[in-house]
Amino acid sequence: LKRFGFGVFSVNKYPSLRPGPKIIVKEIIKAVLPWRKSAIRQYVRWRRYSQADMFIRARLGS
């Protein structure tokens, strides 16, 4: 961003996985169906991904 003349003034990080009851149930069902891929292992370790989504706010010419 600096290369294009932007000054970064905030980088906020959030979890990339947001496990809710509906998602967990869906992933458990997918885990037992042999033709579906489930991300349940990631949801079990969701804290590992607590900073994996990033928002950057930058201003031109600062």
């Binding site: 600096k2 994996a52 928002f55 950057i56 031109l60």
Partner: protein, 216 residues
């Protein structure tokens, strides 16, 4: 297919990282960016974005539907980013606005005081957003003349065939002192076996890490 060097640093040094849907992800030996080693042609990419369907060993349908729950998350992020209000900002363009969840949150956050519009290549997403009363279409960033106080690119970076060229175009659409808001994954530092899956190849062609965000 186009075989590519690193978008960020131009290095041709790379190591295999993972494979999905008939495509390979590699990690740049210089800067650590994850990117697709071979990418479909530009026209194929554009057509896939328009239709929301990407080729590969299995067809990847990425159109989805409006996600109501996403609005509260966007409101939370807007408050974190702008802490209490948008100040004197009057115009906002959301590039890759999808079904319009962020634009909806933005209207709520600003109390309807901001003129917000969106652009998305996927015609189903455009229709879905317009059905909610949002000002959404599809226009060519290169020939677009209007200027904005803020431009957001939420989960757009990973879809860009050539991020540096795109950022030059975005810069041209900003008013003096204008701002950009970018959302992207910060996942390139994960070992391949721990990386969130799926990668959604070839819809995602580049995966990012925070160390690069300020310098790409």
């Amino acid at each position: 297919m186009n075989v590519l060097n690193c978008y960020n640093c131009g290095s041709g040094e790379r190591a295999f990282y993972a494979e999905e849907n008939g495509f390979s992800l590699v990690k740049c030996g210089e800067c650590g960016l994850l990117y697709m080693e071979e990418r479909p042609d530009d026209e194929e990419i554009n057509q896939a974005h328009r239709q929301g369907k990407h080729g590969g060993l299995k067809e990847l349908d990425v159109t989805g539907s409006f996600n109501e729950g996403e609005i509260s998350r966007c409101l939370h992020v807007l408050e974190d980013l702008f802490k209490g209000g948008l100040g004197s900002k009057k115009t906002w363009l959301d590039i890759g606005c999808g079904h319009g969840e962020f634009l909806t949150a933005l209207q709520k956050y600003s109390g309807g005081k901001i003129t917000a519009r969106g652009t998305d290549p996927n015609r189903f997403k455009q229709e879905s957003a317009r059905a909610r009363g949002l000002d959404v279409g599809c226009f060519d960033i290169e020939s677009h003349e209007e200027k904005y106080d803020v431009i957001s690119l939420l989960n757009v970076y990973s879809h860009l065939p050539d991020p540096p060229v795109f950022f030059e175009l975005v810069k041209r659409l900003l008013n003096p002192g204008g701002e950009i808001v970018i959302e992207t994954g910060d996942t390139a530092n994960f070992p391949a076996k721990e990386h969130p899956r799926p990668f959604y190849l070839p819809d995602h062609s580049v995966l990012h890490l925070s160390g690069l965000s300020q310098t790409f």
